[in-house]
């Protein structure tokens, strides 16, 4: 079993994280542009996966349509950049803020319900938003989406985008780590393990869960903003349910009771998708097979597995 909550990242883990960070800083100096692009995409996806894990792995909530908040953040940013002449930094704030507000609204209804209903209600509300975005051609571009979104002027090269995204994602991850180590995070994990007991010791479980959802959705919104900065377009697919399930797979693959598991999961899935995509158009089949292998042989995820065997060998 993992060693409680206090050891969320063992000492060695912090050193390797630092090492990886420095390696990532040097990469753009010698790697071809395509790899820089893929790494940037991985950073964005990692942030999204981590935000989901905040509520599902550490909070125990059936957040089945997390992508909706990601898409909303992306669209908010895109719309501000293309339809208004507001400065870019307004967009940077509006993305996570819109996602957080939506998280508050949807979450408020969902926390009243038990697990499966929570998930189903989320899917319904999220799909409603998808349907509206999909059809509102005049405003959101409908199923075409919005393309050719201008990049903020200070991000003139793909290397600059890379560093920008890396910085923001690292910052967000550090904040997430601090939150998980705080009393809030500890109580959240206690709620995951035994909500009834938490109520009995004086924790307002619903309010706590709602706060967790709002925090997680604002990070998802931030990821959406970064997506637009990188890819310069938005499409309704960002809000579609299948993306939500894909992020779930990333959390599972990495290990959802660990801290950094989802990062690993996101990296693996994006990398696989890109490179497998070169040889075959049946990526979906491979994703399905990976998921089945995970369910049967590695339900604690890659990182969970490594943490377990490294502990046994001590």
């Amino acid at each position: 079993m993992p060693k409680g909550v206090a050891n969320l990242i063992p000492r060695r883990g912090l050193w390797s994280a630092g090492g990886i960070f420095f390696a990532l800083l040097i990469v753009p100096q010698f790697a071809p542009e395509f790899y820089v692009y893929i790494l940037t995409l991985i950073f964005v996806t990692a942030l999204l996966a981590m935000s989901l894990n905040l509520v599902i792995g550490h909070g125990g909530l059936f957040q089945f349509h997390h992508a909706a908040f990601y898409g909303v953040g992306a669209y908010a940013f895109a719309l501000i950049l293309t339809k208004t002449s507001l400065p870019v930094w307004v967009g940077f704030i509006a993305g996570p803020l819109t996602a957080a507000v939506m998280g508050l609204l949807i979450g408020w209804f969902c926390v009243r319900l038990s697990q499966l209903y929570f998930g189903m209600l989320q899917i319904s509300l999220g799909s409603l938003i998808w349907a509206i975005v999909f059809r509102w051609y005049k405003f959101t571009g409908g199923d075409d989406g919005i393309h050719g979104i201008p990049r903020p002027s200070f991000l003139s090269s793909s290397n600059k985008v890379y560093y920008f995204v890396l910085l923001i994602v690292t910052f967000c991850l550090i904040v997430m780590y601090l939150i998980l180590k705080s009393p809030f995070g500890r109580t959240l994990q206690a709620i995951r393990d035994n909500p009834q007991r938490c109520e009995a010791v004086g924790v307002n479980v619903r309010r706590h869960q709602l706060m967790a959802i709002v925090i997680a959705t604002s990070f998802a919104g931030m990821a959406g903003v970064l997506f637009v900065v990188l890819e310069r377009f938005v499409v309704p697919d960002l809000l579609f349910w299948t993306l939500s399930l894909e992020i779930l797979i990333m959390c599972l693959l990495g290990g959802w009771f660990t801290f950094a598991g989802p990062v690993l999961g996101a990296a693996l899935i994006v990398a696989l998708r890109t490179f497998v995509g070169k040889y075959t158009e049946y990526w979906t089949l491979i994703l399905g097979i990976i998921l089945i292998l995970l369910i049967f042989f590695l339900p604690e995820g890659v990182m969970g597995y490594f943490l377990r065997i490294s502990e046994r060998s001590r």
Binding site: L113, I123, S124, F134, L285, G288, I292, P299
Partner: protein, 296 residues
């Protein structure tokens, strides 16, 4: 914007269109609800199985040709889907019954991914169409608007399936066991019945219905990749507002969904697709556990 031609004839005609669509939705959702009730797992692969049913119907009907082809497809395609689901269940799914429900749900998701690429592999990415048999082709004037003859067939099939399911779950031994397992699987096991086989039967029956829905819908839409995606969301929503596991709830939900969508076309064609979602949201906000009682 709202304010389209609003005559009672148009209303009536659209109502019937919505009703026929609701019949297909019901057949598919009844299967989903059945699986949900007995196995307590929402089958994400249901949409892919529906799609498989439609494609299988295409192949069978075009191979054999003519009206006979259609009827044969209608009979055989659901069995193809049932067979595929049985293989998936016995080979893999049944080993997971002791695990948490989230794992079962993820398995059905994996299954849906694999199946949809399988369909892509076998049939490719182009549109297919299936022709209705000759006496069901064409239109009949109803309320002054042309109404597809085929839809009358759907309006008969829906209640037929409903009655069939009712007979099965209330009059046959297997059906009663399924109902009992939905409420208390341990009790069923304690009676000496192999619960795993009950689950297998329920799963296969549910998937059969998905395939049947696909085969029935084939002449009315273009059979194409991606038809699983929108259907699975609609099916999930319908099953949720109907009450988890409740087959009559699936009927109520399907009616609500189909009719609000077709009436939405009258009032606000651009956003017709939004109407059923809004209806779902309203229902869930007022009665989050669904309109009818869930099986558990």
């Amino acid at each position: 914007m709202p304010g389209q031609s609003f005559s009672f004839a148009a209303l009536g005609s659209q109502f019937l269109v919505g009703l026929s669509r609701a019949m297909i939705l019901f057949i598919v959702c009844a299967g989903l609800s059945f699986v949900l009730g007995v196995l307590r797992v929402p089958n994400v692969a249901h949409g892919a199985l529906y799609m498989l049913g439609a494609f299988s119907a295409y192949t069978i009907s075009t191979r054999i040709g003519g009206s006979a082809g259609f009827w044969l497809a209608l009979v055989l395609a659901p069995w193809v889907v049932a067979l595929v689901s049985l293989i998936a269940e016995r080979a893999l799914f049944c080993h997971l019954y002791q695990r948490e429900h989230l794992m079962l749900l993820l398995f059905t998701f994996a299954l849906s991914l694999i199946l949809s690429d399988l369909v892509k592999f076998v049939w490719g990415a182009t549109y297919r169409s299936v022709l209705a048999p000759s006496f069901l082709k064409g239109f009949v004037p109803v309320f002054g608007s042309p109404f597809p003859r085929y839809n009358f067939f759907l309006l008969i099939m829906g209640p037929l399936v409903a009655v069939g399911l009712w007979l099965f779950t209330n009059k046959t031994r297997m059906g009663k066991i399924c109902r009992a397992a939905a409420v208390d699987r341990e009790m069923v096991g304690a009676l000496g019945i192999n619960v795993s086989w009950v689950f297998a039967a329920a799963f296969v029956i549910g998937c059969y219905l998905a395939g049947l829905g696909g085969a029935l819908v084939a002449p009315t839409v273009s059979v194409t990749l991606g038809m699983d995606h929108t259907l699975i969301i609609e099916a999930f929503l319908i099953v949720t507002i109907g009450g988890l596991g409740n087959i009559w709830g699936a009927l109520v939900g399907s009616l609500l969904f189909g009719i609000t969508q077709s009436l939405g076309v009258l009032f606000w064609p651009q956003f017709a697709i939004v109407f059923p979602y809004v209806a779902v949201v309203i229902v869930l906000l007022l009665r989050p556990r669904g309109l009818l009682k869930s099986v558990w």
